[in-house]
């Protein structure tokens, strides 16, 4: 681009005008370190004049120090940003690069090819219009090529260029290239990938990267750059779909203005068009599309806009504005595909937050139907999902949400999973469809409710939840508390971990997944008993914060009293009458809390009992006093 400028002084305005007409393509490159991926991107940047002189100086310095090209410029080093990675010679995260051709601007997500970094590839691909898959012409289609392709199809990248690299090392052989292309197309058809263009290239020598060159005259297709210049942009497809806009923020500068802001996920909007707000289902029309530059006559997918409606209806963040004649579905149970991104495995039944569009809803994966082996694409049975695991699951949310299948619209069908304790983004998911069951199970209305039952008993129902290590004294103390309540005339029930495992939870073991389910069932039973008007004492190890938080969330404010029976491990071990710690120490019991399974102490319990400094009787009195302070006991 600088060449054009030098020849024609004064042409800058025209140049800027042309620049402004350019559109934006986001793409991702996949391949392993050895396939020459970084070299290819480095080459694209270099050919597009985007490597600045001082970067080149740094590159020459680094090439001498870390380079793999024997002192020649190593383009790969332009991309590997972090110091540690540079020294290891690998890329370990998503890096974004920017360059431009005569026609388009490009944002490249460069992601690593190592198996353990599936997460990064999914992340990089989630915003990509297209993908470039590199294979080494000498090796052809490898397991990792298939893996990357499967991930691209999973995340819905519609257009793929298969760049067969290092053609210079196989004498630019057409036969070898065609064989690789055939094999790849056969595989791709099996995973539903449709739009594939195979391009023979040499990133090192530059053949078919920006222009065709003469060494592969037998190839009649586009060079990689012309492919990138012409491949379809996803926003054009989305603009053709029915209107969707998740409401992001309500703009109320004064009482006379109520603007609904958001980015249009699909479709086109004009003032006067009818819309339906989901999940409420209320219909109205768009009055104005307000912007800083004046009202707009039209707005399309990908624009961030501000709408006003003709009627003063209640709309808030998280609602989805839809074309009235083609609204989104609304449901609370789904079949989804999940990619797990956390070191902590996904546990069915555990409560997570699910962010879809601008709405964040609590919920749980109720069942893992099967996991998918990313190398063989085989279905495998799974009870949990580990880092980089992929599975088809049932998802149940606490509230019904508007959505479209992910395959139709990533913005209204894609979601992230947030761990409620660590706040990390633990996974990403894609809605396939709503499960019928969601529409058919309704809550039955009952005339006699919790307050009526409680009033008849003359007490306030509540759950007193004892948590602590095995042998901490939970059951002993809970038993004493129940005795005291009983003597005072309260109606109670004690749910004890060991007892419940003999019956209701007989089918559960001691894996993390089973522990989560164990607590989920007990919490639900406790909730029913509270509904029946009882004071429920729960004595369970309940090692995880998120499950105790779940139990708390099932009840109304003030109904849940968390009692932390705080006994240090050595003391609990010494008191152990059942000999369990000893067995665990000997390795005869595995998954034993405190020994080889974690216990997460409460952060802010209503009551904390330091059993080292008090007797069981004193501890029970402390709980009674706390129940009185909390207003749960009348006497």
């Amino acid at each position: 681009m600088s060449v054009a400028l030098q020849g024609r002084p004064g042409s800058i305005e025209r140049y800027l005008f042309e620049q402004r007409q350019k559109r934006l393509l986001r793409f991702i490159t996949c391949g392993s370190v050895d396939d020459g991926k970084s070299t290819l991107i480095g080459r694209l940047l270099y050919e597009c004049d985007l490597v600045f002189d001082d970067h080149l100086a740094a590159l020459a310095r680094d090439s001498a120090r870390f380079g793999t090209q024997r002192g020649e410029l190593d383009f790969a080093l332009l991309l590997d940003g972090l110091v540690a990675e540079r020294e290891q010679g690998i890329t370990i995260d998503v890096a974004h690069r920017f360059f431009a051709s005569e026609r388009r601007k490009f944002i490249v997500a460069d992601t690593p090819g190592h198996e353990q970094y599936t997460r990064n590839m999914i992340t990089g691909a989630s915003t990509a219009d297209a993908a470039v898959i590199l294979v080494d012409a000498r090796n052809g289609v490898l397991t990792q090529t298939r893996r990357h392709s499967y991930l691209l199809s999973l995340i819905g990248v519609r257009h793929v260029a298969l760049a067969v690299n290092k053609m210079d090392l196989i004498d630019y052989s057409e036969r070898a290239f065609r064989a690789i292309e055939r094999e790849y197309r056969r595989f791709a058809a099996g995973i539903g990938m449709e739009d594939i263009v195979a391009i023979p290239i040499s990133a090192l020598k530059g053949d078919n990267v920006v222009s065709a060159g003469e060494r592969m005259a037998w190839y009649r297709g586009p060079a990689l750059m012309s492919y990138l210049d012409t491949v379809e942009l996803d926003e054009d497809r989305l603009a053709e779909l029915p209107f969707r806009m998740p409401v992001q923020w309500v703009n109320r500068p004064n009482l006379d203005f109520r603007g609904l802001t958001g980015m249009i996920a699909s479709g086109v909007m004009r003032p006067g068009e009818r819309v339906r707000v989901e999940p409420s289902g209320i219909e109205t029309a768009v009055a104005r599309i307000v912007s800083y530059d004046g009202d707009l006559e039209r707005a399309l997918a990908g624009q961030s806009i501000t709408l006003t409606l003709s009627d003063d209806i209640d709309v808030s963040r998280g609602d989805l504005i839809c074309a009235a004649d083609c609204p989104a579905e609304v449901a609370d149970q789904f079949e989804v595909k999940l990619v797990w991104m956390s070191d902590q495995p996904l546990l069915p039944g555990r409560r997570y937050l699910f962010k879809i569009g601008t709405r964040t809803v609590p919920g749980a994966v109720t069942r893992i139907k099967y996991a998918i082996d990313v190398n063989s694409l085989e279905h495998i049975a799974a009870r949990t999902l580990e880092l980089n695991g992929i599975a088809v699951c049932n998802l149940a949310l606490d509230e019904a949400i508007p959505f479209d299948p992910y395959a139709v619209n990533p913005d209204t069908g894609g979601f992230i999973v947030i761990d409620r304790v660590t706040n990390e983004t633990a996974g990403a998911g894609m809605i396939d469809f709503a499960l019928r069951r969601a529409h058919t199970i309704h809550h039955q209305h009952m005339d006699i409710d919790k307050s009526a039952r409680a009033a008849q008993m003359g007490q306030k129902p509540a759950v007193v939840w004892f948590t602590g290590l095995p042998g901490a004294g939970k059951s002993t103390i809970a038993n004493l508390v129940e005795l005291k309540l009983h003597h005072l005339g309260y109606r109670t029930y004690l749910l004890d971990g060991d007892n419940v495992r003999h019956g209701l939870n007989r089918d559960l073991g001691f894996t993390d997944a089973d522990r989560v389910e164990n607590i989920r069932r007990v919490a639900e039973v406790a909730k029913l008993m509270v509904d029946a008007g009882l004071i429920v004492l729960v004595s369970f190890i309940s090692p995880f914060r998120s499950e105790r938080q779940f139990a708390r969330g099932l009840l109304e404010a003030g109904e849940f009293v968390e009692v932390f029976v705080n006994t240090p491990l050595p003391v609990a071990e010494r008191r152990d009458r059942k000999g369990l710690y000893e067995k665990a120490r000997r390795g005869e019991l595995t998954g034993f809390t405190g020994i080889d399974a974690p216990y997460e102490p409460p952060e802010d319990p209503e009551v904390e009992l330091l059993t080292v400094t008090c007797t069981a009787e004193q501890a029970a009195e402390q709980v009674m006093a706390a129940l009185r302070d909390l207003g749960l006991l009348a006497h």
């Binding site: 800058i12 350019k22 934006l24 603009a239 992001q248 980015m263 004046g294 624009q303 706040n423």
Partner: protein, 317 residues
Amino acid sequence: MGMNRADGRRVPAADLGSRTLTHLQRLEAESIHIMREVIAEAENPAMLYSIGKDSSAMLHLAMKAFHPAKPPFPLLHVDTTWKFREMYDFRDATATRLGLELIVHINQEGLEAGISPISHGSAIHTDVMKTQALRQALDKYRFDVAFGGARRDEEASRAKERVFSFRSAAHRWDPKHQRPELWRLYNARKKPGESIRVFPLSNWTELDVWQYLYVERVPIVPLYFARPRPVVERDGMLIMVDDDRLPLNEGEEPALRKVRFRTLGCYPLSGAIESSAETLPEIIREMLLTRTSERHGRLIDHDQTGSMERKKQEGYF
């Protein structure tokens, strides 16, 4: 965003007759989306306002994002007291023109200790008056989210930073434990004491920013345009003598040369370039021809490879 018609009048983007968005329109939409997401989820956000061209673009985007309301957060300028005088004038005029709250924070301890780029060098000055001062300001006003104008094309370690970049309660950045960012879904949940730096211009390039400022006619500090200015030449860099705090070496005589600045910071640390570019198109033309990347003019990045990454881990923006 708008486009210039042949007669110079601006036309709202969607009226162009085309059913597509240009790259600048998409970048604008993404930045606005990011800002609104912060406002919807943060408790007490602020915008780091450095007075430079990227800040000007970011502020303009904020005006658009929240129109007809004002941006619902204050501007925070972490002042080293060594900025160019024209920068201070521009800062105050901008806040007044747009009717926004401006908070200026200076590291008083650093000031009392007499820390300056001249007596202590760029590394210590930057650490005390910028890095530490920023932490002080965020702690003092309890800002949980701060917008910054950094772009991924500036430097290699920035290319890997997230749009929502988490800082521990001690303001540290941990490049190994960043949250994945998928689609347009940003996870803004955090624990008390933790904070987030948000970079709405992450996907913009330097050329995009200049283009945008030009198309949208956004005011910028006049120091970006070439004018005759008094400078001295040191270690191959032209340093402007902006006030009498810059000690002149023996025999050193400020000379009036036509210069401009590609990046703005503390004046003793900002190298000027000789230039004749007096308009934005001329600046862009020069930029495309000179082929020297942006931060070259800043002394602080020159220590060694990887220096920016180290600074960021310590809490530099």
